[in-house]
Amino acid sequence: MDQGKIIVSSERFQLTLLRLAHQILENHLKPEDLCIIGIQERGVPLAARLKDNLIEMLGGQPFKYGALDITFYRDDFRRRDVPIKAATTEIDFLVENKNVLLVDDVLYTGRTVHAAMAALQDFGRPQKIEMLCMVDRRFNRHFPIKADYLGMSVDALDEAYVKVNWKDIDGEDEVRLFSGKIIK
């Protein structure tokens, strides 16, 4: 089986996570208005790690944290061969007048973020929505969407596949590049 190529190793991965956490703090001097929302499934572990880093750095200052499932908001429902299974949304607050930071592992076509912004409207009117991703595949966009915070940019062919692995799920914190879609 194709193991892919490691493009971000574990050491660099930790530094990137720390940098992203610092960048968030730099732009959010009032953390009480900040909501970090991970997009299901693979954005949630990234959001959780950032949350851990931020809790440590903020020393107890509260900020909001949640997970958003966008299955019911996707624009490709009834257009895919196999429907996507729904996951759980865990947002127990309204985002009214808050600064929302959407978190996903890979920003690719932008359709997920587009759906997430539609889904977010059902939780109120945010003051501002920002986007954070670990990997930005900047030449593959279908929508005029860009990340405000990004771990790294990967310029790869359309058929290539980028996977962000997590220590507690996949065994290692790293980013791998595959030449084609992984068949599970």
Binding site: T71, F77, R78, V82, P83, I84, D122, G124
Partner: protein
């Protein structure tokens, strides 16, 4: 690995779907229950889908529940009640439905007095069909929401003892419940007067009890059904009063057996006949949870079948 789609494009009855289908519907319903408890109770999933609710028999709860489910998925909805329609002018079922489909309808939710009407339609039309009750045959979404409510209350359905009390002979809820609970691994007993229990019902994998006290002592959950006088062409019981005396569930009976039984009822309730008010309104009763879960279950069924069309 569990599948993310149903094995069928219609929901004609519980008999025709698999255990995996039921589990997928439940998992999806959990997420929809979350949606309908938000301040904004709506998702855009079915915004390009049109659903026709075709009711050849009266219904309040089921029709409202389906309509709310459809609207909360952002589907376009048309309602059709047979009493005020061309059916009373002599049109056939197939003609009626084909005329509705010619107006570009994607899904049909139908209630019909004839068992098997949905199977007939499924052979002849292309739209997804959901059975909202066919005579005395099946009422699949009711069985799904009943089992879902049991799972929510007791953690699981598997291994639980469930008794269905009442008019088993005329009840589509009973038949669908038996199929559904059996597929999920519950032990099912039916209880009622012998005139209202079909012969050979044991062949469906259930046991029969005629003493309601014994049945209650045995069970974890009692699903109490209404006596369907409107379907009874002859007298099956001497009087409702006598039925209430022998098979009605009251507080005294529940206190005597000294065990916390979950009480369910698919509605409409005849208070004082099959169940007394103090039982129907007690903490043990999950009757209104069933109604709430009904919307979530129907959203899940509509959503999964719509996705199936591809």
């Amino acid at each position: 690995m569990s599948s993310s789609q149903l094995s069928t494009k219609h929901l004609l009855g519980i008999k025709y779907i698999t255990k995996e289908d039921i589990e997928l519907i439940f998992k999806t319903a959990v997420e929809f229950k979350d949606v309908i408890n938000r301040p904004i109770k709506k998702v855009p999933s079915l915004r390009d889908v049109t659903v026709a609710n075709v009711f050849f028999e009266n219904s309040t709860r089921t029709r409202i529940s389906f309509e709310l489910a459809e609207r909360r998925l952002s589907a376009d909805v048309v309602n059709f009640a047979a009493s005020s329609s061309s059916v009373s002018k002599g049109e056939t079922l197939l003609d009626t439905v084909n005329n509705i489909l010619a107006m570009k309808v994607d899904m049909v939710v139908m209630r019909h007095p004839a068992p098997g009407a949905h199977h007939f339609l499924a052979k002849h039309i292309d739209a997804n069909i959901i059975n909202a009750g066919d005579g005395t045959h099946e009422h699949p979404t009711q069985a799904l929401l009943d089992a879902f409510s049991i799972q929510e209350t007791l953690g699981s359905v598997e291994g639980k003892n469930i008794v269905i009390v009442g008019d088993i002979l005329h009840s589509r809820v009973a038949l669908s419940n038996i199929f559904c609970l059996n597929k999920l691994g519950a032990n099912v007993k039916v209880c009622g007067p012998s005139t209202l229990i079909p012969r050979h019902i044991e062949s469906l994998g259930v046991t029969v009890e005629h003493d309601v006290r014994k049945a209650l002592e045995w069970c974890d959950v009692a699903n109490v059904l209404r006596i369907q006088l409107e379907r009874q062409d002859i007298k099956y019981i001497p009087s409702l009063r006598e039925y209430a005396q022998y098979f009605g569930i009251n507080k005294q009976l529940l206190n005597d057996i000294n065990k916390d039984i979950v009480i369910m009822h698919p509605g409409p309730i005849n208070r004082g006949v099959e169940i007394t008010s103090d039982v129907a309104d007690s903490k043990q009763s999950i009757i209104l949870d069933q109604v709430e879960n009904g919307v979530a279950i129907r959203m899940a069924v509509l959503y999964l079948l719509a996705g199936k069309k591809g």
